[in-house]
Symmetry: C2
Subunit: 354 residues, 2 copies
C-alpha cells in the first residue's frame, strides 16, 4: 500500500529517441494531477537520464549499473521507449533495456489492457515477463557454425505467480473468465507446465470460467468480431504475450495507443509500448511525437499507487482526446500539434471534468 | 516434373474425425477434373486409411509404420485433418501426425496462400516446416520438477532452403517483395541465423525488395487495412508461420477456408488446415462438414503436379461457390447442405466455366 509510505518516489526514465520528449509531457500531466501531494512532499519525481542507447553502447550494458541503482531508489517508474539495437544497424549488440529491467527489478507481470468500449471489448492481458523464451535469449548456443539452439525456460513458481495474479485480478474486478494461451501441443515441456499449473490454480476460483486456446488459433479469434468481446482476462507465457498484445492493441488503434504495466512484488514500471523513433529526433520532429501511450502508462501508474480518482480522470480525458472527440485532429502524428500541446489539451480536458 | 512420370500416384489420406468424409468429396472433385487421365492410367488414386487417432493411440505412434510405408509409395498426398491429443482429453499423448509427416517426408516448405481479391490481398506464406520450435518439441527436459526447458533448433541448410524457395516463388510469379518475420532481437541465435541468411540470400535477387519485421508487430500490421495489402511473400520460422497464417486465414474467412501445401524435394502433401471436429462425427453430423479447405488443398495439389488449367478452374469454382455467389447459403456449417452437395455444386460450377 503506497499511500502508507511517507513519500512515494516516482522515477521518470525518459529512455532515448523521442522518449525524453514524450515522457516529460506525461510527467507534466502527473504533476498537474498530483499537485497537492507533490507540494506536501508526499510524492516526489526523480528524473533518471542515463538510459540512452549512446551510454548503454559505451558501457556495453543493457542498463548501466549506476542507472540501475537510481531505478532501485524509486517505488514506481514511468519509462519512455529505449532503443534495442537491431541486427545490421549502427549500434553494438547490447541487450534490450526493457527486458533487462523486467528481470533486474523482477517485474513478473506485464499487464496490458485493451479497451474498445464501442465494440464491447475490455481485455486485460497478463503476460509472464521474466522467463519463457526471454529467459536466456541471449545465451543461445551455436553448437556448430550451422546449428543454432535457443532455449525456453520456465519454472513452476514463475508460472504460478503470473497465473495467480491473473485470477486475482479477475476476482477483484468481477471478471468471469480467464483464458490461458499456449502452444502446449508442440512446446510440451514449458507450455505444458504452464497449462497444467493454470488448470490446477483455476480450481481455487470456482466462480471463474477457465479455458485455454493455442496461440495460433487465438490470433484468429481476436479477429472474429462476433466472438472476441467474450474474452476478458488472458494469461500467457512471455513470447505469446508479446505477440498477442501487439495484435490486440492494433484493434484499439495501434500499438501507440496502449500502455503497459510491469508489476513485481517490490517495484513497478509503466511504459509506452511503441519504439523510440530515433529518426524523428534526427529530423528535429521529436517535439511532435505522440505522447498518448506514455500518458496512458502514467494513468496506469496512478491507479497502481492508489490515486484512483486521478487515474480515472486521466483515462476519461485520454478517451475524449484520442477517441471520442478528435482522434485524427489532435495526435501529433497526423497534424502538427506538438506533444506539449497534446498534454495541454489533456489537462484542459481533465479540468473540465471536475 | 510430374507429367513425365508414367503414372502419378495421388494418396488420399482421410485422417480421422470429419476427415474421411470431406476428403472423399475432394477426391470426387479431383477424379472429375482428371477423369481422362485417370481413365488413361496416368493418374491413380490410392486410399490410405490407417491414420486415425484410434490406431495411432493403439500403436502409440504419430504415424503407424505401415501407414508411413503406404504414404511413401505416393508421389503426392491429399490429407484430411488428424486429431492431435490435447492435455487432459481421452487420448494418450501421441505426437501430432501432421508434424511427424512433415519430418518423415522432409516436407520443408509449408506454403499457405491467403487471397482476398476485393481487398487487393494476395499473400503467400512460406513457413519453415521441419525445425525451429518444432524440431525437438517433444524432447524438452524437466531439469527438476520445477524447471522445464524446451529447445528451438535451426540449421543453416534448413533456413537456406525455405528462404530460397520463397525468393524463387517470388521471382517465378512476378512478386516484388519478400518479407522475413522473426523475433531476432530476443531469440538471437536461431532467429538471428534465419535473418542473417535471409539478408544474404536476398542479395541474389536484386529486383526483389527484401524487408523484415518482428513477429509481434507483424501481427498488428496484418490488421492494418491500409497497408497490409502491400505484403506479398512472407517467409517465417516454423512457430511464427503457424501463428501468423491462422491470423491471416481469419481475414479471408476463417482457418476453414484456407489450404496448406507441404512441399519437399521428393514428396508433397496438401491438407486442410482446420481440425478433425470429432464431435461432428459422434453427433452424426459429419456428412454436413464443410469440405472447402480440403478442396482448396486439392486445387493446390493440381497446380503442383502440373494440371494448371484444372487447378485454375477449381480455384475459380471455389471462389464462386464460397465467396461471390452464396457464401452463407451453401457451406454446410451454416445451412444444412451436405459435403456431397457442396462437391456437386463445385463440379456443376466447373462445368459451366467450360
Ligand atoms: C522491445 C522488445 C524487446 C519488447 C519485447 O519483446 O518484450 C516489446 O516488443 C514489448 O512488447 O515490450
Ligand atoms: C495441429 C498442429 C500441430 C499444427 C501446427 O502447429 O503446425 C497446425 O496448427 C497447423 O498449423 O498445421
Amino acid at each position: 500500500n503506497y499511500k502508507e509510505l511517507d513519500k512515494i518516489i516516482v522515477g521518470v526514465c525518459g529512455g532515448d529517441g523521442i522518449g525524453p520528449a514524450i515522457t516529460a509531457q506525461a510527467q507534466r500531466v502527473l504533476e498537474y494531477l498530483l499537485k497537492e501531494d507533490v507540494k506536501a512532499g508526499k510524492v516526489e519525481f526523480k528524473t533518471i537520464d542515463g538510459l540512452t542507447i549512446e551510454r548503454r553502447a559505451a558501457e556495453m550494458a543493457a542498463i548501466p549499473p549506476a542507472v540501475l541503482e537510481e531505478l532501485k531508489e524509486c517505488h514506481v517508474i514511468l519509462k519512455g521507449p529505449t532503443t534495442t539495437p537491431r541486427k545490421g544497424d549502427e549500434w553494438p549488440n547490447v541487450e534490450s533495456a526493457n527486458v533487462a529491467m523486467r528481470k533486474e527489478l523482477d517485474l513478473f507481470a506485464n499487464v496490458r489492457p485493451v479497451r474498445i468500449p464501442e465494440q464491447g471489448i475490455d481485455w486485460t492481458f497478463y503476460r509472464e515477463n521474466t522467463e519463457g523464451s526471454y529467459a536466456v535469449g541471449s545465451q543461445g548456443i551455436h553448437v556448430t557454425e550451422d546449428l543454432g539452439v535457443d532455449f525456453t525456460v520456465v519454472t513452476s513458481q514463475g508460472c504460478e505467480r503470473i497465473i495467480r495474479a491473473a485470477f486475482e485480478f479477475a476476482k477483484a474486478n468481477g471478471k468471469t473468465r480467464v483464458t490461458a494461451v499456449t502452444k502446449a501441443n508442440i512446446i510440451k515441456t514449458t507450455d505444458g507446465k504452464f497449462l497444467d499449473i493454470f488448470r490446477e490454480i483455476s480450481k481455487d476460483y470456482p466462480d471463474i470460467t477457465a479455458d485455454d486456446w493455442y496461440i495460433d488459433i487465438m490470433t484468429a479469434k481476436l479477429v472474429d468480431e462476433k466472438r472476441r468481446r467474450d474474452f476478458q482476462v488472458l494469461v500467457l507465457p512471455n513470447l505469446y504475450g508479446d505477440i498477442l498484445t501487439d495484435e490486440a492493441a492494433e484493434f484499439q488503434g495501434g500499438v501507440g495507443t496502449a500502455g503497459s504495466a510491469n508489476i513485481g512484488k517490490r517495484y513497478s514500471m509503466f511504459e509506452a509500448i511503441h519504439g523510440s523513433a530515433p529518426r524523428m529526433v534526427t529530423e528535429g520532429r521529436d517535439k511532435y511525437a505522440d505522447p498518448c501511450s506514455v500518458i496512458r502508462a502514467a494513468a496506469m501508474l496512478l491507479a497502481h499507487i492508489g490515486y484512483n480518482t486521478e487515474a480515472d480522470k486521466l483515462y476519461k480525458a485520454l478517451d475524449i482526446c484520442t477517441i471520442t472527440e478528435k482522434k485524427m485532429e489532435i495526435t501529433g502524428r497526423d497534424t502538427g500539434c506538438t506533444s506539449a500541446e497534446f498534454a495541454d489539451y489533456i489537462m484542459e480536458t481533465v479540468e473540465k471534468l471536475d
